[in-house]
Amino acid sequence: MGLEELKHAVIDGDQERAIDLTQSELEMGTAPERILQEGLIAAMDEVGRLFECGEFFVPEMLIAAHAMQSALSLLQPRLAAAGVQAVGKVVIGTVKGDLHDIGKNLVSMMLKGAGFEVVDLGADVPPDKFVKAIDDKAGIVALSALLTTTMPAMKTTIDALVEARVRSRVKVIIGGAPVTQAYANQIGADGYAPDASSAARLAKSLLDVA
């Protein structure tokens, strides 16, 4: 069946095929939401599982995410026209002082693959930029840091959210090489994930998304 084929094209990272199959599903009149859920999100869910069990590595995850994003771009106008909402909105960035973005980009891709709207603020993001990006729809703020030297900027960012009185409106999740659950507890973050795939799962569980 078509959606199953689409799912496999995404898992295999076959971008052209993922686009063609999405196009033909739309032409056949399949509901955009079903294409998203049963084709793209189901595929990225499986990619995450394969990554976590050690069968997939970063390259496999990357090409699958690229195939998914291409198909999603095609689908997006139709989802908007049908009034389909993202499962939640995440504001993501690498904290002030830290220029590394590879890990953050992977998390961002996996969040999109899980059906989230992602606002990526980039790297070296000052706390006030996170504050300004929080609107009524934002449910999660995701902070990344690679260095022990820049980790404290995660706490500074959370402090800025408290000061701006938006902390209670969002869940804060953190990740990056030196970051741990203990550090998340210490600075008052709502969650920590050790890799991109579990970050997407964590975001879903914090927002009670199935």
Binding site: P59, G97, T148, T149
Partner: protein, 389 residues
């Protein structure tokens, strides 16, 4: 208890690398993966009451060259012999303005540009990958640097010879032989990872060229100093904190044979031990490295799942020297008290030291923000608990 040293630093290092117990474990500081960031070094010399002008070891990682005064105080047993760029290379660091900030930009010999904002001074990250949009033909035509250019090695033998004759230390090369990583520096990591699956022929074309560069470089360098070195340091990061970064199948088919060419070249020109650096949980790759002729593993990232010190020592200690892993640099060294540092160093040293085969270092370079008290506590503990009797 007062301990007495009975060996020269070089004797000590050689014994440890041959899996025999010296008088105490050798100690390292000041390499390209066993060094110290300039800002952490500044804090250290201030703490030690020393006044120095800090010398640069590596602008990309912002590492200092520790002074002899510091190296002696911290009981460091190894000194480094490095080559330089050829006369034809007009490299250097420029200060440029972009996006409202001032950036230090460094273009290396491969055409990769590394950049760092002057308001942070932590690291240089890559801002330009010269082969980002290249096809295989472009790789073949790309003007690679000449690894064998004699001017790279001018004065290196004289310097190494003087160090060998006038100092008691073991001598190591700086980091070299970076065969795989240079590929992604030139291509961009994301594109390179995708090439592994979508365009492996591109990966092979590029890694053939980096391997040839290093074969030529090693030949030129080791013809000069191969008889004077005790250690040659090579490395390519293969693992992240959760294991291999890319599939072991790709590693064994594409990367390993090219690294083997470089290792074979080293072995042809020097009896020095081969030291290999890869971060992360590289436990899956340790049997490969041993088969390839690697003698020493660094930095031994003990906080990752597969890199438990006891398991590593029990499983691979007969065949591999561990160089690093003295303390967890991510969760303990920057944040703990000096007492806790001492306790952890004692615990790790006691696991790694039996039978030799261990050189002390923390895990990778000492980063900005590590309190100097912790650095001193770490080295004092390594010295005190490093004695064999």
């Amino acid at each position: 208890m007062l301990h007495t040293e009975t060996m020269s630093p070089r004797e000590r290092v050689i014994k440890a690398l041959n899996h025999e117990e010296p008088d105490r474990i050798p100690i390292d500081l000041g390499g390209f993966q066993t060094g110290i960031h300039k800002k952490a070094y500044q804090a250290l010399i201030q703490h030690l009451g020393l006044e120095e002008t800090i010398q640069d070891l590596d602008p990309v990682q912002q590492l200092a060259i520790p002074s002899e005064a510091v190296l002696e105080k911290l009981h460091a047993d190894i000194r480094y012999v490095t080559a330089h760029g050829p006369d034809s290379f007009q490299g250097g660091i420029e200060l440029n303005e972009r996006n409202g900030r001032r950036w230090y930009d460094l273009r290396d010999e491969f055409g990769v540009v590394w950049s760092m904002p002057d308001d942070q001074m932590l690291y240089m990250d890559i801002s330009y990958h010269p082969l980002a949009d290249a096809a295989i033909k472009d790789v073949e035509n790309y003007p690679f640097p000449d690894g064998s250019a004699p001017s790279r090695f001018t004065g290196v033998r004289e310097k190494a010879l003087a160090m060998r004759q006038n100092t008691p230390y073991a001598l190591s090369s700086g980091i070299c032989g970076v065969t795989y990583e240079v590929c992604w520096y030139m291509r961009g990591l994301e594109r390179w990872f995708m090439d592994m699956i979508e365009n492996p022929a591109f990966c092979e074309a590029l890694i053939n060229r980096t391997a040839q560069y290093w074969v030529d470089w090693m030949t030129g360098f080791l013809e000069q100093v191969g008889d004077l070195l005790d250690i040659v340091m090579i490395g390519d990061d293969l693992a992240g904190q959760h294991g291999p970064l890319f599939s072991p199948k790709f590693y064994r088919q594409v990367v390993r044979p090219r690294q083997q060419r470089v290792i074979d070249t080293i072995k042809k020109h020097t009896p020095a031990k081969i030291w290999y650096h890869t971060c992360g949980d590289c436990s899956q790759y340790i049997p490969d490295l041993i088969e390839m002729g690697v003698d020493i593993l660094n930095p031994v990232q003990i906080s990752t799942r597969g890199m438990d010190p006891k398991r590593l020592k029990d499983t691979f200690g007969q065949n591999l020297v561990f160089w690093g892993g003295g303390i967890d640099s991510q969760h303990v060294l920057p944040f703990a008290t000096p007492d806790k540092i001492r306790e952890d160093v004692k615990k790790n040293v006691e696991i790694f030291k039996p039978g030799g085969g261990y050189v002390f270092n923390n895990v990778h370079n000492i980063q900005v923000g590590v309190p100097p008290e912790n650095i001193v506590a770490m080295y004092e503990a390594a010295y005190e608990f490093g004695f064999y009797s």
